[in-house]
């Protein structure tokens, strides 16, 4: 039973990690265009290098 002392925190930490990853991906607009993302994965054309990031 002493194993529980670290197993339970480990389980919670892993779960928490997944939650953090989910929240990050949500905040990072990963779910905004599910259809387009599927097609972009198949696109062989490399993104143009001279295209600058969104100015902020």
């Amino acid at each position: 039973m002493t194993a529980l002392a670290w197993l339970v925190p480990a389980a919670l930490a892993l779960g928490g990690l997944a939650l953090a990853a989910f929240l990050w991906s949500l905040g990072n607009a990963q779910y905004d265009d599910l259809d387009g993302a599927g097609w972009r994965a198949l696109d062989d054309v490399p993104p143009p290098a001279d295209q600058p990031e969104t100015p902020s």
Binding site: V8, G15, G16, L19, L23, L42, D43, V45, P52, P55
Partner: protein, 733 residues
């Protein structure tokens, strides 16, 4: 009912948001993007426009966001760049987009937190349950319970917000909605579990409370998705109206002017294929106009100087000038918009199925809980065990499956319709479509394709089609386009002709091998004795006898089959058209519709629909013209083809693509099946209550039973809804 010639560049409303002094983001709606290829074409076409920093397509929303220098670019340039690649784009006012999307992301975040909490608490709970008979000591159990509490309390406080807020709102307005029993159930379950944890008891419901929230949020997220999809479809349409026109100033200079700024007396230039923005009178000597969108009349109108031209009419010849006779707000198109608004009010009163269920369910649940408490008190149990039993009843009846019952069905049904090219614009459209018992069809553009085609074309030889098409290439007149389409269908090259002259209102002429070729009216082709009464086009080659080419607005290929299937499915079918009697009669006969009326003005169409509604019928209006828009708004439900006038598409609940009428049947069948599934889901949810509520009232529900009951009913409801996805909707031959 647009002709192909009006397909491009229909738009323009500009409201770019300044991002930095010299950078702006413009959002365009591009409804015709379907795949990765379209995505790349659109992005590269826009990136090639000078001044564009980046263009990013959102394929799910059918939109593209363009970041560009404000000084050197304009939204109109982007629309034109896309039009040259064959994409119809429209500019969206950006401020409307944000709130809906934010709400969806917010719900997803709460769903994520609830999911994390539910999984971890379940892990702890299962250990406790399986440890009951074994070697788990009371202190270990207590530690697990405290851990659960530690996860559950913040999770419930955060993830439960949407329900608590909505319940508070309902209560302060003196109403009961589904969120009241939900909030009560979740809060009481959490509070009681905390109390039991403090006392060191075995009965802890943290898992039930959080799992409940998880499933409930799932329902909310699905419901939100349907709404967002519907709302964005509607917005994409809204952006598509013509909002600028070309004005010719008294000094002769040209300029672009917003339609709302047009005042009577202004001189406007109308290009061929453009929609006339306001009522006015014709300044040019002659013009050929397509009135069908306004009146439903399918034959093109030939106007001479001084004639009145209505807003919404499409110019077939051009460019020509008109003088505005009314401001935009006083034009026919606005009159129709006003008729629509009044007609639409009735539909706003519709109460959704889930809300109707809540009105019965919420009080019933609270009465059951109260009865349990009173019953146990009367039976002599202490107030504490009486309260425990009452809370157990509220937890069990927490309408988890009920809250999922409708949203899951809607999501599956919407996706099913989307697969067939049908876009739902209203989130309650499915429920209203399911109640329909009468289908009212418009003729031009709905029952028919809305564009003239050569009929009995088999009698005409390929050589003649080739020559006629060579002439026809020089015009955008719908009859000329019909000849070109016939050539395409036969895979014949139109004869290359040097200089084709168009004589406005008469026909086309060219010289070939020293002979004069003519395509046009009977007078233009010098027909001696006209034998045909119907609409026809003549072709003459040199001195040979003129040939007649019959032109008519043909029925959609499956119109008759669809009408037959509708009648067999028990719907009354009616035809209401603004077109002239004989052509309506022949279309009705060909499609097998027995009840029809011709020359119906918009008010008369509304009257007819109100009369049907007054007789207890629920009417589905299917139409496309501007003159149908008020009738579409007046119907219990409305469907229009994607070629319809924008204002009609806005009034419709669903818009379908393609040249077939079958989507009308698909809509009705899927809607009916969806309602059946939703009702079945209610039955499942209520059946599960009937099973477990007596147990709860008897005070015999353990946390394990609550958890199993909750999950099983939610999963059963979801699986039942998924059956819709496999549904087929074949039309009888």
């Amino acid at each position: 009912m647009a002709h192909a010639l009006t397909a491009d560049g229909e738009v323009v409303i500009a409201a770019p948001v300044p991002l930095k002094p010299h950078f702006v983001t413009t959002t365009l709606a591009v409804e015709t993007m379907h795949c990765g290829n379209c995505l790349r074409t659109v992005e590269t076409a826009l990136a090639a426009v000078p001044g564009v920093q980046s263009a990013r397509v959102n394929l799910s929303a059918r939109r593209v966001a363009i970041l560009s220098e404000s000084a050197t670019t304009s939204p109109e340039k982007f629309v034109a760049a896309l039009a040259s690649r064959g994409f119809k784009a429209s500019i969206l006012a950006p401020q409307v987009l944000a709130p809906v999307v934010d709400r969806g992301a917010d719900l997803l975040r709460r769903l994520g937190v609830a999911g994390f909490a539910a999984a971890n608490i379940m892990l702890l709970s299962v250990s406790v349950w399986s440890g009951h008979g074994g070697d788990m000591t009371a202190s270990q159990q207590s530690v697990f319970h405290w851990l659960s509490a530690l996860i559950a309390l913040p999770a419930v406080a955060y993830a439960g917000q949407p329900f608590f807020a909505s319940a508070r709102q309902a209560l302060s307005a003196g109403r009961l909605n589904m969120d009241v029993p939900i909030s009560l159930g979740v809060t009481l379950a959490t509070a009681m579990s905390l109390f039991q944890t403090l006392r060191g008891s075995e009965q802890v419901y943290f898992d039930a409370a959080v799992t409940l929230l998880f499933f409930l949020l799932l329902g909310r997220v699905l419901d939100q998705n349907v709404r967002v999809r519907a709302a964005s479809a509607a917005e994409n349409l809204l952006g598509r109206r013509t909002v600028t026109a070309t004005r010719i100033s008294p000094d002769g200079s040209w300029g672009s002017i917003a339609i709302i700024d047009i005042t009577p007396g202004m001189k406007l230039q109308i290009a061929a294929g453009e929609q006339i923005p306001v009522d006015g009178c014709l300044l040019a000597a002659t013009a050929s106009l397509d009135d069908s969108i306004v009146t439903g009349e399918s034959a093109p109108r030939f106007a001479v100087a001084g004639d009145v031209v209505h807003a919404g009419t499409i110019a077939l010849s051009g460019p020509f000038h008109i003088e505005a006779a009314a401001a935009a707000a006083d034009s026919l198109i606005s009159e129709i918009a006003r008729l629509m608004q009044t007609a639409e009010q009735a539909r706003g009163r519709y109460v959704r199925l889930a809300d109707r269920a809540a009105q019965v369910y919420a009080p019933a649940v609270h009465i059951l809980g109260a009865l349990t408490f009173v019953g146990w008190m009367l039976a002599g149990a202490g107030w504490e065990s009486a309260l425990t039993a009452a809370i157990a009843v509220l937890i069990i009846t927490c309408p988890c499956a009920l809250a999922l019952a409708v949203p899951v069905v809607q999501v599956v049904a919407t996706a099913r319709l989307f697969r067939d090219g049908i876009v739902l614009k209203e989130s309650d459209a499915l429920e209203r479509l399911a109640e329909v018992d009468t289908v009212v069809l418009d003729k031009t553009g709905t029952l028919t394709l809305g564009r003239p085609e050569l009929c009995a074309a088999a009698e005409i030889s390929d050589a003649i089609v080739s020559r006629a098409a060579g002439l026809a290439l020089g015009s955008r007149h719908p009859y000329a386009l019909a000849v070109v389409r016939e050539a395409e269908r036969r895979r014949i090259m139109p004869l290359p002709l040097a200089d084709v002259r168009e004589c406005a209102g008469a026909g086309l002429e060219a010289t070939h091998d020293g002979r004069t070729l003519r395509l046009g009216s009977s007078a233009f082709c010098r027909v001696q004795h006209e034998t045909d009464v119907g609409v026809s086009l003549w072709f003459v080659d040199g001195d040979t006898a003129p040939m007649v080419l019959h032109v008519s607005d043909v029925l959609r290929s499956d119109a008759a089959a669809v009408v037959a299937t509708l009648s067999r499915d028990g719907y009354a079918v009616e035809l209401l058209s603004g077109d002239a009697g004989p052509s309506v009669a022949s279309a009705a006969h060909a499609a097998g519709i027995r009840r029809w009326s011709a020359q119906q003005r918009p008010e008369q169409k509304i009257e007819r629909i109100h009369a049907l509604a007054g007789a207890g019928h629920k009417v589905l209006m299917v139409g496309d013209g501007l003159n149908d828009a008020p009738a579409l708004a007046a119907g219990h439900a409305a469907v229009s083809p994607s070629s319809a006038a924008d204002i009609s598409q806005m009034a419709a609940d669903a818009v379908f693509q393609g040249e077939r009428l079958k989507p009308v049947i698909t809509c009705l069948r899927v809607a009916k099946a969806a309602r059946r599934r939703a009702l079945e889901n209610f039955a499942i949810a209520i059946g599960y209550n009937a099973l477990f509520v007596p147990l709860a009232m008897a005070g015999r529900v353990t946390p394990l039973i609550a958890a199993i009951a909750m999950s099983v009913s939610s999963i059963a409801v979801t699986l039942n809804a998924l059956r819709l996805a496999r549904m087929t909707t074949d039309v009888a031959p």
